[in-house]
Point group: C2
Chain length 396, copies 2
Amino acid sequence: MSLIVQKFGGSSVRDKERLYRAAQRAVDTYQKGNQVVVVVSAQGNTTDSLIKKAQEIGDTPPGREMDVLLSTGEQISMALMAMAISGLGCPAISLTGWQAGIKTCETHQNARIRHIDTTRIREELAKGNIVVVAGFQGIDEQENITTLGRGGSDSTAVALAEALLADRCQIFTDVEGIYTADPQVVEEAVKLTSISYDEMLKLASMGAKVLHDRSVAMARRGNVVLEVLSSITESEGTVVQENSNSAAPHLQGVTADRTVVRYCIKGLNRESGGLYTFIEELAQAGIRPDLLGQNEEGEIFFTAAHSKREEINRILKKRRLHIKEEDIWAKITAVGQQLTAFPKLKKEFFEVLHEAEIPWEDSWMEEDRFSVLVLRERANDAVHALHQVVLRHHLK
Amino acid sequence: MSLIVQKFGGSSVRDKERLYRAAQRAVDTYQKGNQVVVVVSAQGNTTDSLIKKAQEIGDTPPGREMDVLLSTGEQISMALMAMAISGLGCPAISLTGWQAGIKTCETHQNARIRHIDTTRIREELAKGNIVVVAGFQGIDEQENITTLGRGGSDSTAVALAEALLADRCQIFTDVEGIYTADPQVVEEAVKLTSISYDEMLKLASMGAKVLHDRSVAMARRGNVVLEVLSSITESEGTVVQENSNSAAPHLQGVTADRTVVRYCIKGLNRESGGLYTFIEELAQAGIRPDLLGQNEEGEIFFTAAHSKREEINRILKKRRLHIKEEDIWAKITAVGQQLTAFPKLKKEFFEVLHEAEIPWEDSWMEEDRFSVLVLRERANDAVHALHQVVLRHHLK
């Protein structure tokens, strides 16, 4: 008997039809003799409408109360999911974050799971129940309700899989798995059978939206076998796990980050140590500059996420540095491993960009990725172009 | 320093304007130097829309999961209320039923509060917070979420007031207090300054909807001083407490129950003991027959709540009794105390009914009430008529 954790996101439970389809998945898995824990997000746009309710009351609601409010979204989902599973004739019980023993730190709206006391879940599994757990939520040491922030339900599923020593953690989504490129952009994109944690993490941090980097990092740390698959079709998904079949050098996929901002700074000297302390200060604020370089006029340039814009400006202002912001770029990244084993890889990338008449700005090559900055309106073209090279060096 | 529990029902928190008005009430009370615990119901028709969600999933959702679902309604309210109070500059914290230590029996959808562990509430009050508690919910011994059923938020408020030894439990409603009759029916109705638990209980059990009989009974048991007042106007309400100022015989008010069903049964003999065992069986099913009598043909007749219809029919069918149901009546009841001290009271009631040309069927007189059955379409007229007698014998 295996123990499977299945996570269904907001769109997979948004209405009766979707809910029953998800419930049927859980029941099928259960009837094959597995123990099943289902993790659910809030339905469709429930979270947005709860946020709207709070904004009506005031501009700066206390974070603690926002968590109390938002956590109801998953509680509604989990009750309906347990009802649907019961409706299909299977015993089911729903548990909130606190009932499921999910203990977090006390950072409201962006809490991290510290520990899961699995007693209650194990009891309910032993009774033969499918256990439905609310994603995205927990309680802190003082028994206050917390929410996990971005990608929270994925984190719940992975943390539960780790704590329960589950055989697999299945993440059901709108897509059928991880592809060599976004299939909505590149028709020839190929679905991957499996991908390593490191490669998935790199794809996620470079713009791929299927999985959040935090949950991939958690899965790697806990050695949880993740599977990304469709909540609609029955086809096999992509397994994310420790490297096994793909020891040879290869490319895995290409992704685009359309929200990067490029900064050019005057007056920072690479040699004087000013650059070093500047980067350190960015790091302390949780900002990792990418595609860092210096041009002939001595200007330092780098890219960072659009969401960090205010913070970066605050730091630059404090240092009285002159800055130029460019919000017109997209960062296109091809991910793989042992890329330096391909001596002419960088040249191949530039050739396909050249053939497609796509001008590029900065670029970066290292062992596990190649990134290049192109104008945002050419992002899809650049993904297309780089994808040709990816397919050339992709291990089937 | 006093401790005041304030309960706001669904219509008192249904939108931003109402929420802020209620929050302002709590803040005013706090700023006068009191400790304040606020109990909230779900907003407006939230509960109905949650029930609708469940019904979409299936016809017979498990009671446990209904409680998980419905309890989110109060959790949303309490978060918004805490936000509104914070928005008014007052420290506030919201607590769910389980966080507030409300332990119930395990009867889902109709649980009773067994015990309240007030540790957390007292801690938060000691920190200077206004504590906002979700009404209508608790947890059972196994930490499952339960809901309290009909009038649940009133019960929460009264139970909290009792457990916290509060000085007063204020129930904010759409009306300004308890009146000698429903002011929407009788213009001349007079607001009562105070009323005894017993009289309030009698009014509530005979159809008055301002307070639920269960919470009045709880208040009597715990000797909690209840106050019913308007969430909209600032005028004084009605205090429900142990008899004090009203030892003399008097009438307090008149109410109507428009949902009674009258049953006529053939074949039950009052003398043979069949009637006795029949009434006992009804009592075991939670049914209290009222206006019980026997006519000249030996038929037994009585009234009971419409909601008990199926159950009564089941019992009568089992006993193979022939039955006639009449769903055309309203029971009008005048409530008071020591009524037999007024020798001609019954006659006075019949006279006003006669003057208003209202025919009546069965009637009943005892120490604390007079009830009479009239056709439902004449209910308001009968309330008007009996109210004249009430005012005549009402203690100012």
